[in-house]
Symmetry: C2
Subunit: 405 residues, 2 copies
């Protein structure tokens, strides 16, 4: 057998995707996934858009198209940043990507040499850990508080770092957001540092409480990349995301994109652009916000009713996830074994940590179940937490959990 | 400014895509592109398929889906290899990719360390040169004869090589194919060598002359990857390709795919699968073969009529390209300057060479123009070739042509 590339030696399949296979059983109540609720998909409007595009522009919808993306779609994205966030974004600053997962791959490819120090939040987004790990960074992680990263730890971590990756609003996995003050402080820390900033904002449109805040990118566009996606505001099956970046950064991203897949699907881009043009997008997004806001509240109320009081849970103002911290020494991986027997699934938190910690944490998704199902699942999970008491769920020494992949 | 990753230092935009910008002028006769003819796109059948998918399975077409790809589509691909080529391919051996450009990126990611010797044909496919160059191989190239690679040169190049990349049927850029004998000889050379084999077959279905031959992969499935695509037999706007591979190779490709973009578009995959199921695919492919066969013949006849006799041109049995070799010392880059003034475009051959040679070669695409346009373009191009005589088109010493990108 010839040798594989070194970059693949530590790579593993996503632990979440492996758990999701267990939850294929329809009798399992799953808080494990990160899927948008299909009730939020505008199927009929998409069908009408597909029909219109193929009727009016079939040949160009099926042909190769520019690497940068479909210009009217890039114009829509730029106009929305200007209108909703007051940001100075030009269509030329937008690169359409094959989902924002591809944006992570392109950013890593363009920015990260093996061994480069790369900073991520603790807990951090698993998809970014996977995409960036292939380029073999030297990971550093910075604890998240309820209002954003620990500034002292961040300042220390940024010293000599090549890249800082952050999800600043309704983070996956924690549900936490950077406060206005923290955004300004992070932007200030990045000033004059030779460090790229990769800001991932897949959930920014999904705010159901609190006041809308612009991304940190707005304060620090030089050396920064801002990622967005249609996965949570239209549908993930399109694989449509984007990168906002300027100048030399954008120039290199376009070269890497061309080598990676030439361009993102022409038909997909034209369908989504047509959907946005022919429908009331504000009303559509408002429906998703209300849906997820209601489900988040239901989960919080169920947690208040059922969970042991020594389990700490975050209070998101948007997005799709809650984050729970068990008492020190209790292993969420052991808890999962109990809960799967009770037909409830979640994602143990260790996978979201690059330093091997986090075994007493877990992620709960609320976007895919109604209030009654949520309550039943939380009740069962709380029972498992009670059953864990007295050392029953202590982490096994040297346990192998499949890692961060 | 922070430093970009070293892998991007030599990377440039595709020279072809830059030429294509020049040819946006509709009065230019372009033999430069590599686009399928939009007349071959089954627009109405695709529209019907999109409608059916969104009506019957809207929620799953718009949701996240498995990294490996949509199972019925993988089953169709495997069944076609079994039926048409007698190959032992299982659906589990198929990974759906975002075009076969992504397959090149994934293969390079999984197989190539910086500095690894990688063998490619001379001339070689530009998209592969771009995708693989990002992973910084040590390139070796092997001359192509009319029936396949020079075996002596190939044997030498394979010594200690990590990977051999080849387009074995109707190659881009040369139009050349490996004969049955050469296929067997290449398979024999690969036996017992610690070298991966990456066989790219985007045009295999587009044979309009000669006898159908199975890929080399069929003789050497261990350590090999076979690439295919729907771009030339359905439409490129979908960005749908695939990799055939087994065991550990497939396992690592799936991990890399997950990190690269999670999965290829769900809707695109379901539309194409539905199109294949509801239509007569053989009749559809036969129409494309006849279309391109006719255009290839038209270009060959025009070349016989107009080109100077000292210009050598290949005689493809399928695909979309012809390859011309000018007399030694005549620069196709200089010829392009003359021909663009005469409103005819082609791609100079140097971009398809990893060793800086090939300045006296050029690629001609025949899939996108009718016979009358082809004749007019070839007539004008022949006039430019005549005008080149007497040292007028000699390469400038140390000229910079934008390189292979």
């Amino acid at each position: 057998m010839p040798q594989f590339a070194e970059r693949m030696q530590g790579a593993q399949r996503s632990f979440i995707r492996e758990i999701l296979k267990v939850t294929a059983d329809p009798t399992v109540i799953s808080f494990a996934g990160g899927l948008p609720n299909p009730a939020s998909f505008p199927v009929d409007a998409i069908k009408a858009a597909a029909n219109a595009v193929l009727t009016e522009s079939g040949a160009s919808a099926l042909q190769y198209s520019p690497t940068e993306g479909y210009l009217p779609l890039r114009q829509w994205i730029a106009a929305r940043y200007r209108a909703k966030k007051g940001m100075d974004v030009d269509p030329a600053d937008i690169l359409i990507t094959t989902g924002s997962q591809q944006a992570l791959d392109l950013a890593a490819k363009v920015l990260v040499n093996a061994g480069d120090p790369v900073v991520i939040e603790k807990p951090g987004y698993l998809g970014a850990i996977q995409a960036l790990s292939i380029f073999r960074p030297n990971w550093r992680s910075v604890p998240l508080h309820d209002d954003g990263p620990d500034l002292e730890a961040l300042e220390k971590a940024l010293s000599g770092a090549k890249l800082f990756y952050a999800v600043t609003s309704f983070q996956n996995p924690s549900g936490l957001s950077y406060s206005e003050e923290k955004r300004a402080q992070v932007a200030e820390l990045l000033r004059h540092r030779k460090c790229f900033f990769l800001e991932d904002d897949p959930y920014g449109e999904l705010r159901f409480a609190g006041r809308d805040l612009p991304p940190v990118y707005a304060q620090r566009p030089e050396h920064s990349l801002l990622l967005g996606t249609f996965s949570k505001i239209a549908a993930p099956g399109f694989r449509l995301g984007w990168i906002v970046a300027k100048g030399e950064v954008m120039e290199r991203l376009v070269i890497a994109k061309q080598a990676a897949d030439l361009h993102t699907g022409s038909l997909d881009q034209m369908i989504v652009e047509r959907f946005l043009r022919d429908n009331d997008f504000e009303a559509h997004v408002l429906r998703i916000r209300k849906l997820y806001g209601g489900q988040c509240q239901a989960m919080q109320e169920s947690i208040a009713r059922h969970f042991p009081k020594d389990v700490h849970v975050t209070r998101p103002e948007g997005g799709m996830f809650l984050w729970a911290t068990l008492p020190e020494g209790v292993s969420s991986m052991e808890l999962l074994k109990l809960s799967v027997a009770e037909k409830v699934a979640f994602v143990p938190g260790e996978a979201f940590h690059v330093d091997g910690t986090g075994d007493n944490t877990l992620r709960l998704n609320y976007s895919n179940a109604d209030a009654a199902t949520i309550d039943e699942g939380i009740r069962r999970l709380a029972g498992c937490m009670e059953a864990c008491r007295g050392g029953k769920c202590a982490a096994k020494a040297g346990a192998q959990h499949g890692g961060q992949g």
